[in-house]
């Protein structure tokens, strides 16, 4: 019980100590907050792009467009070939009229299309391959492109796959950035605690002389570092969340103008707790390193 009260007292004392130097404390918290908000922000950005690209590339499809002058017989011929093809899993015929209907419904282009007078779209097939590896898709695309009255064959998912690969690089960069800035956080805390130890040198020396154990001396500094890290984490969370909300406001407006709806994901509660936990842990680590490095130098005698 006394032990617990001791910790509570230390916590109280550490908060007071932070409050005694409001300017320095705020600056430290801000630096940590900004440093942590960078990887956190990029992480959210990547998550959003990833969600977006997943929606598009979940089912890689091939679009096959007939020439504008293709007759019903030509279309039936291609349909027959598709039905017989070993690599084609299923396919759907999209007539020019249906394609036009769909287009009018989806992207807010109704006005433009109705002004156009005639249907600019060709007949098309949307097909799914049995096997989604890039080589199969590519050979299917090439083969279908040589069929009579086939204007163009397109791998819909290709750009999404490239994007996905680019996202992989992005994730790696975010991890690297995160690791670097975590180290910066450790360094910032190390230095803050070093200064604290220097200003409280007399107190540490006297405490040692009158029977303070090393854990007792270490404790307030560990609390201080951890609290500062945690406060920095909260600052980072606020920066990311407020920025996300502001961005969302703008994006909603933009999406409305394009006739669709779109909302950015922000930090989930799981990501938030990881962010705060990590910030506190890095603060603890920095202060622990600092205390271990500097305390033995203050030996009375």
């Amino acid at each position: 019980m006394n032990w617990l009260l001791g910790h509570f007292d230390t916590l109280r004392e550490s908060l007071l100590r932070l409050a005694q130097q409001p300017f320095a404390t705020l600056l430290n918290i801000l630096v940590i907050g900004i440093a942590m908000s960078l990887p956190a922000g990029f992480y959210i950005g990547l998550n959003n792009v990833q969600t977006f690209s997943r929606q598009l590339s979940s089912d890689p499809q091939i679009s096959l467009f007939m020439t504008m002058d293709a007759s019903a017989a030509d279309v039936a011929g291609v349909e027959q070939r598709l039905r017989d093809h070993a690599e084609v899993d299923r396919f759907e015929f999209v007539s020019r009229d249906r394609a036009l209907e769909r287009l009018k419904r989806s992207a807010g282009l109704a006005d433009v299309l109705s002004d156009l007078g005639r249907n600019p779209l060709p007949d098309a097939f949307v097909l799914t391959a049995r096997n989604n590896d890039p080589a199969t898709l590519e050979s299917l695309r090439a083969e279908a492109g040589r069929w009579a009255k086939v204007e163009h064959v397109q791998l819909d998912a290709e750009w999404a796959r490239r994007l996905d690969a680019a996202l992989g690089v992005g994730r790696l960069l975010v991890s690297l950035l995160g690791a670097l800035l975590a180290m910066a956080l450790v360094a910032i805390t190390f230095n803050t605690i070093r200064l604290q130890i220097l200003t409280r040198r007399d107190e540490i020396e006297v405490s040692k002389l009158i029977g303070a154990t090393n854990p007792f001396i270490r404790r307030p500094f560990l609390y201080l570092g951890t609290l500062q890290g945690l406060a920095g984490g909260i600052a980072a969370w606020l920066i990311v969340t407020v920025a996300g909300m502001a961005l969302n406001l703008q994006l909603t407006e933009l999406a409305t103008l394009y006739g669709t709806s779109f909302a950015l994901e922000t930090l989930s509660s799981r990501d938030s707790s990881i962010l705060l936990g990590l910030a506190a842990a890095m603060g603890w680590l920095g202060s622990w390193l600092s205390v271990s490095r500097h305390l033995w130098q203050i030996e009375p005698g």
């Binding site: 009260l5 001791g6 107190e203 002389l209 009158i210 029977g211 154990t213 007792f216």
Partner: protein
């Protein structure tokens, strides 16, 4: 007889890095409840001897045994707990000038882990004993030399130590103040505290006729 021996120093030498020989083959014992003065010129090794007794430094050879525990054989982790048996008064006071009088006296109790209410009670009692009860909230810098010395005493006795070690407690004080301080030590000794005082001021103690250990260039004299 060994049970009542509070401090036992036998064949202790202390040589500092650089070759300075502070103490040489010093042997003596202090009984529990005894009051002993260590005298000698400055540089005779009085402070070194007190530091060895308080386990602040370790002897180069020989043994220092406090209440049955050999300080050279102790684990570093156990030394803080040994030190809590001591009330220490340092030559340079070592008061914390950024803390109040109250907080200075409360420090040893906070270190031991007393609950806050108990700390308040004991700090007031200690301040009362040295006549500083009204100055709790003052900063030590606003106290006079004599008052600072009394603050040091309050901090040294607040955890009710078995042994009081004082290094030049009457250092820069005029006679009246010094008498007062020595009187306090006598009072603590009368309630059973073992007291060891290092001083170069022998005139101060003639009146008391106490046991005197005289150091001369690191050796115990007659």
């Amino acid at each position: 007889m060994a049970v009542s021996q509070m401090i036992s120093v036998s064949h202790v030498s202390k040589r500092y890095a650089g070759g300075y020989q502070a103490l040489q083959d010093v042997t003596f014992a202090v009984e529990s409840g005894e009051m002993v003065f260590i005298t000698g010129h400055s540089g005779a090794g009085k402070s070194t001897l007190l530091k060895l007794i308080a386990a602040i430094e370790m002897p180069t050879s020989g043994s220092v045994i406090i209440n049955g525990q050999n300080i050279s054989a102790m684990k570093p982790g156990a030394i803080p707990f040994l030190r809590r048996n001591f009330g220490l008064m340092f030559q340079d006071h070592k008061l914390l000038f950024d803390r109040s009088v109250y907080e200075n006296v409360a420090l040893p109790l906070a270190i031991t882990g007393f609950p806050r209410r108990e700390i308040a009670k004991r700090v007031r009692a200690a301040l009362d004993k040295v006549g500083l009860l009204g100055r709790e909230k003052s900063r030590p810098i606003t106290l006079s030399g004599g008052e600072q010395q009394r603050l040091c005493i309050a901090r040294a006795i607040v955890n009710r130590p078995a042994i009081l070690l004082a290094d030049e407690p009457t250092g820069n004080l005029d006679t009246a103040y010094a008498e007062e301080i020595i009187g306090m030590f006598e009072a603590f000794n009368q309630v059973g505290v073992t007291v060891v005082i290092a001083t170069h001021d022998e005139s101060m103690i003639e009146r008391l006729g106490p046991r005197i250990l005289h150091l001369d260039h690191g050796r115990l004299g007659p």
